[in-house]
């Protein structure tokens, strides 16, 4: 009998290892033979550790299961899928999961991430097989036609980037995966790498075939040790089965892959800074042009994309550009794995086609706030994303729709705050974060962020508030137009949106009635 207990970091963080050990011990004590599989997370994170039992081919979910719940679950007959207060019935029928459109995350949570054969059984490497039978330009044309845009945040069309690299003449080209997922509120890269590392490897291999690159690097943040283990195990398995190496599946084509660890610098999620870091230097942003596609890693043409971008490629090659392109709205095609985070009742991963509204996501999926209080503000797109008030909750999840309200979808992180939030403190934090993480290259970002904290402090303290607000807005404009990259350029988003939508939080409360100054 198969029992699944996730090895995903989020599940481990709430005791999945202890739960797994308790299940093994209890099964042994009762003389029940079980096969324990450590899968990725299904993404219903509020139910973690979520244990699944395979009952005649149907997986039945129980969660959150702590070690001390295990004996009672055995008593209730959970190994036969019997009811228990922690039971949720068939996993696939849980509305949160059933309503999703899982393309990129199709296998995450379903398969054993350490097993190549499991990957193959579930449709793995079919995209590569299709790519191996085609010309590079034809692969690139499929990616372009699918409408896939960079999922790291900037949403640049992936096909155009690949075409530039394909057209560049060089003896050596590189494929680099940006796995420096530093945005607060995001964890889709982590979940994918831990839950289905092979799909990332397959996507990067296809990128290599499409552009003529033979060496790949995954630049992974140190904060993800579980992802490192999963990737390294998968790379070794792929290499042993000749899905990586000098002669991929007898095609004569070569592609090698290596994981490199970051060291705690948010800026290294910016592509040129990441390349500097890979070269062994300080992660300082480069001027563009030259584009990394022409002069990237060690000055060579480089495809650099986010984890989810690469991981979306195999299904496009397997099912066709049209299949993928069919999902979505406007110029946002396909699906986006959204991440529901912060003060939310049912946090987790929701992969859906573009076009659903923020409100549907927050309430239909998320179930409102975790604290039970009203949701007052939502930050979309990471620490550089805007804070949205309730009046903007009906905005559809679409790159252009969010740009139109001076926000951004970014990497798909949604952080909910209840009504206890102090938006002036959040604005101040955004500036503080910029000061801590600035690479120091551009003056507006390096110094402006520190001055920004000071100005917000004076504004909150009510020292000549009108003047401080003018200075703050002016400073934000300087940051926007005077910074090379998105850190300095977008820090004004959370600051100004907080100021515009929640001005009352920036006003010093009157301490004593009648105390007129």
């Amino acid at each position: 009998m198969k029992i699944y207990v996730p090895r995903d970091a989020a599940a481990l963080g709430v005791g999945a290892d202890q739960t797994a050990q308790a299940i093994v011990a209890e099964a042994q004590r009762r003389g029940i033979a079980i096969e324990l599989i450590r899968n990725g997370s299904r993404g219903l994170l509020w139910l973690e550790p979520m244990v699944e039992v395979d009952v005649a081919g149907t997986r039945v979910a129980y969660g959150p299961v702590q070690a001390h719940d295990v004996a009672a679950l055995f008593d209730a007959g959970f190994t036969a899928g019997h009811p228990h207060p922690l039971g949720h019935g068939a996993t696939e029928q849980i509305p949160y999961l059933k309503r999703q459109e899982r393309l990129t995350f199709a296998r995450v949570g379903l398969t054993d991430p350490r097993s190549l054969s499991d990957y193959l059984v579930h449709g793995g490497y079919r995209g590569l097989a299709s790519a191996l039978a085609r010309q590079p330009a034809d692969i690139v044309a499929s990616v372009t036609a699918s409408g896939l845009r960079g999922r790291g945040g900037a949403a640049f069309p992936a096909g155009i980037k690949w075409k530039t690299v394909l057209g560049a003449q060089s003896a050596q080209k590189y494929v680099v995966c940006n796995a420096d997922e530093g945005d607060s509120g995001t964890f889709s890269d982590r979940m994918l790498m831990e839950g289905d590392p092979f799909v990332l490897i397959e996507g990067m291999t296809i990128a290599g075939l499409a552009t003529g690159a033979t060496q790949g690097y995954i630049y992974l943040r140190w904060e993800y040790p579980q992802a490192k283990l999963a990737l390294e195990a998968a790379i070794a398995a792929a290499r042993a089965a000749r899905y990586l190496g000098q002669d991929i599946q007898g095609s004569g084509k070569a592609f090698e892959l290596e994981v490199r660890m970051g060291a705690g610098a948010y800026i290294c999620g910016e592509e040129t800074s990441l390349l500097e870091s890979l070269e062994g230097k300080r992660g300082q942003v480069r001027f563009k042009p030259p584009l990394p596609a022409l002069q990237g890693l060690w000055g060579k043409p480089t495809v650099i994309n986010n984890v989810i971008t690469f991981a979306s490629v195999p299904i496009i090659l397997d099912r066709g550009a049209e299949f993928y392109q069919h999902f979505g709205m406007g110029r946002s095609r396909g699906t986006l794995p959204m991440q529901l985070a912060g003060n939310i009742k049912r946090g987790g991963l929701v992969e859906i086609a573009f076009g659903m509204t923020l409100r549907e996501l927050l309430y239909d999926f998320g179930g409102g706030s975790f604290s039970g209080r009203p949701i007052r503000a939502v930050q979309v797109g990471g620490p550089l994303g805007a804070y949205h008030p309730e009046s903007q909750f009906d905005t559809p999840l679409d790159y252009e729709a969010f740009a139109a309200i001076k926000g951004m979808l970014g990497h798909g992180g949604i952080v909910a705050f209840d009504d206890s939030v102090d938006m002036a403190a959040q604005a101040r934090y955004a500036m503080e974060f910029c000061a801590i993480e600035s690479c120091g290259k551009c003056t507006p970002c390096r110094i402006g962020s520190t001055r920004g904290v000071e100005v917000i402090d004076r504004l909150i303290a009510g020292e000549n508030a009108a003047k401080q607000e003018t200075i703050l807005r002016d400073l934000c404009e300087t940051l926007t137009y005077g910074s090379l990259c998105a850190l300095g350029g977008l820090t004004p988003y959370p600051v100004i949106s907080a100021l515009n939508h929640f001005p009352q939080d920036f006003v010093k409360p009157v301490t004593a009635p009648g105390a007129v100054g």
């Binding site: 989020a10 481990l12 904060e223 705690g264 992180g413 209840d418």
Partner: protein, 167 residues
């Protein structure tokens, strides 16, 4: 006249010195070897000692300033010897939305230190971290690379007791 500083004697023990040199020899053939070497040194010695910098610079044919510039750029590389365990507490927005600022105050008061500090008994070094990718189950912290989610003040106290017993 500007007096030229004579390079002082290294304070590294023989064991530390060989750990640094071993990492260099093992990894310097990699393209962009500096970060992998620094990771290896920190994995072995738990920090990157100041006196390791000239050794690494020499092995990689870089200037001391270049290596120091890299070590000091990245928050993860510790330049001071840490406590027996390193506790990374998340300060990012998703954890803030679940009360991490109050938790932060509790942690600092309980340990009697601020960020980058080490408790007087040398047990724990407290470092801030900006997102552990556990944003649906915050507040989060990591103790020696072990992630913990849904950390309340009470759960923190329990974790602290457990980890002190282990160390």
């Amino acid at each position: 006249m500007i007096p030229i500083k004579v390079e002082r004697q290294s304070n590294l023990t023989a064991k530390e010195q060989s750990a640094v040199l071993d990492a260099c020899v093992r990894l310097k053939g990699l393209p962009g070897a500096l970060l992998p070497i620094l990771h290896a040194v920190q994995a072995e010695l738990r920090y990157v000692p100041k006196d390791a910098v000239p050794l690494i610079a020499k092995e990689l044919n870089l200037s001391v300033a270049e290596v120091h510039g890299v070590v000091s750029f990245y928050h993860y590389f510790l330049q001071q010897r840490p406590g027996r365990q390193v506790l990374h507490l998340c300060r990012a927005e998703a954890c803030q939305a679940l009360g991490s600022m109050a938790l932060e105050a509790h942690v600092k008061a309980k340990l009697g230190i601020d960020f980058h500090g080490t408790t007087r008994d040398g047990a724990i070094t407290l470092e801030p971290v900006y997102c552990l990718g556990n944003c649906a189950l915050g507040p989060s912290l990591m103790i020696d690379q072990q992630l913990h989610g849904r950390v309340t003040a009470e759960r923190f106290d329990a974790l602290l007791t457990q980890s002190l017993e282990r160390s």
